[in-house]
C-alpha cells in the first residue's frame, strides 16, 4: 500500500515533540527523553531515505532474482546513529544521577548554580 510522505511527516513530528519536551518540561529525566525523541525522529528520517517501493531487504544471500532492493547505506548510517545515541543517553543519565545526589532535586529550573 502506498503511504506517500507519511513517514517523513511522522519523523518531523517526532523532532518537534522532542524540541517541545526540551523547552517546556522541568524534570531532568524528561529532558533526556526529549533528546531521545529527537534522536528517534532523525533515525526514522534516515531509514526512510533508503526505502524504495516494493523493495526487499538488501541481502544478497538467497535473494529472489529480479527484485528491487532498498538502499543499504542509510541503514548503516542509522545503526551508527543508534549506537551514538546509546552512549549519549548513558552519559546524560549518569550525570542526572550525580545531580540528584548533589542537589537533591531534578528540577531544571532549580539547578542554576552556574549562571551569569
Amino acid at each position: 500500500m502506498n503511504v506517500g510522505n507519511l513517514p517523513f511527516i511522522v519523523s518531523a513530528l517526532l523532532v518537534v515533540l522532542g524540541i517541545y519536551t526540551l523547552l517546556f518540561k522541568r524534570n531532568l529525566i524528561k529532558l533526556v527523553i526529549g533528546v531521545s525523541l529527537i534522536e528517534t525522529g532523525v533515525n526514522l528520517f534516515l531509514v526512510m531515505l533508503g526505502y524504495r517501493s516494493e523493495g526487499i531487504a538488501p541481502i544478497y544471500t538467497f535473494a529472489p532474482a529480479g527484485e528491487r532492493m532498498v538502499l543499504p547505506t542509510p541503514q548503516a548510517l542509522t545503526l551508527t546513529s543508534i549506537v551514538i545515541g546509546l552512549a549519549t543517553t548513558a552519559l546524560l543519565l549518569s550525570f542526572a544521577v550525580f545531580i540528584w545526589r548533589h542537589y537533591g532535586t531534578l528540577d531544571v529550573h532549580k539547578i542554576k548554580e552556574l549562571k551569569g
Binding site: 524540541i19 526540551l22 523547552l23 517546556f24 529532558l31 531544571v108 529550573h109 539547578i111 542554576k112 548554580e113 552556574l114 549562571k115 551569569g116
Partner: protein, 113 residues
C-alpha cells in the same frame, strides 16, 4: 625584510621591538641624570602625611576582583542587568536560544537570501 602586509600598511615587529628598546634606552639615559644620593629603606622613602604616622595597612587595602571595575560596570548597568539575566543558567533557556537562532537563520537563508 620580515613583516606582514595588508591592503593598507605593513607591520614589522622586529623594527618595532628595536624602536621600543631604543626608546627604553633613551628613557634610562634621561633617568640617569637624577640624584645619586638616594638610599632605600630609610626615612627618605616614607610618605609625608603632615608629620603623622603612616597607618598600618587595613584589611581591605587590596582592591581585588569585582571592585576593580565597579564604576564602569555600574555605568553600564542597564546593559548588564539584561544580559546577565539572559545567561540564567537554565537549560531550557539555552535550548530556547538555540532554537531561536535556528529559526532566525532559516528565515534569513530560505526566505530572504
Amino acid at each position: 625584510m620580515n613583516g606582514i602586509t595588508s591592503g593598507f600598511g605593513t607591520w614589522n615587529p622586529i623594527a618595532w621591538t628595536l624602536l621600543f628598546i631604543g626608546i627604553l634606552i633613551v628613557a634610562f639615559f634621561v633617568r640617569s641624570f637624577g640624584r645619586k644620593d638616594y638610599k632605600r629603606n630609610t626615612g627618605q622613602t616614607k610618605a609625608f602625611l603632615s608629620g603623622n604616622e603612616e597607618p598600618d595597612a587595613p584589611a581591605g587595602l587590596h582592591v581585588s576582583g569585582d571592585n576593580l571595575y565597579w564604576g564602569m560596570v555600574h555605568g553600564l548597568s542597564a546593559y548588564y542587568k539584561r544580559v546577565r539575566k539572559w545567561h540564567s543558567g537554565d537549560l531550557s533557556d539555552y535550548v530556547a536560544w538555540f532554537i531561536g537562532g535556528l529559526a532566525l537563520i532559516f528565515v534569513i537563508i530560505v526566505w530572504v537570501g
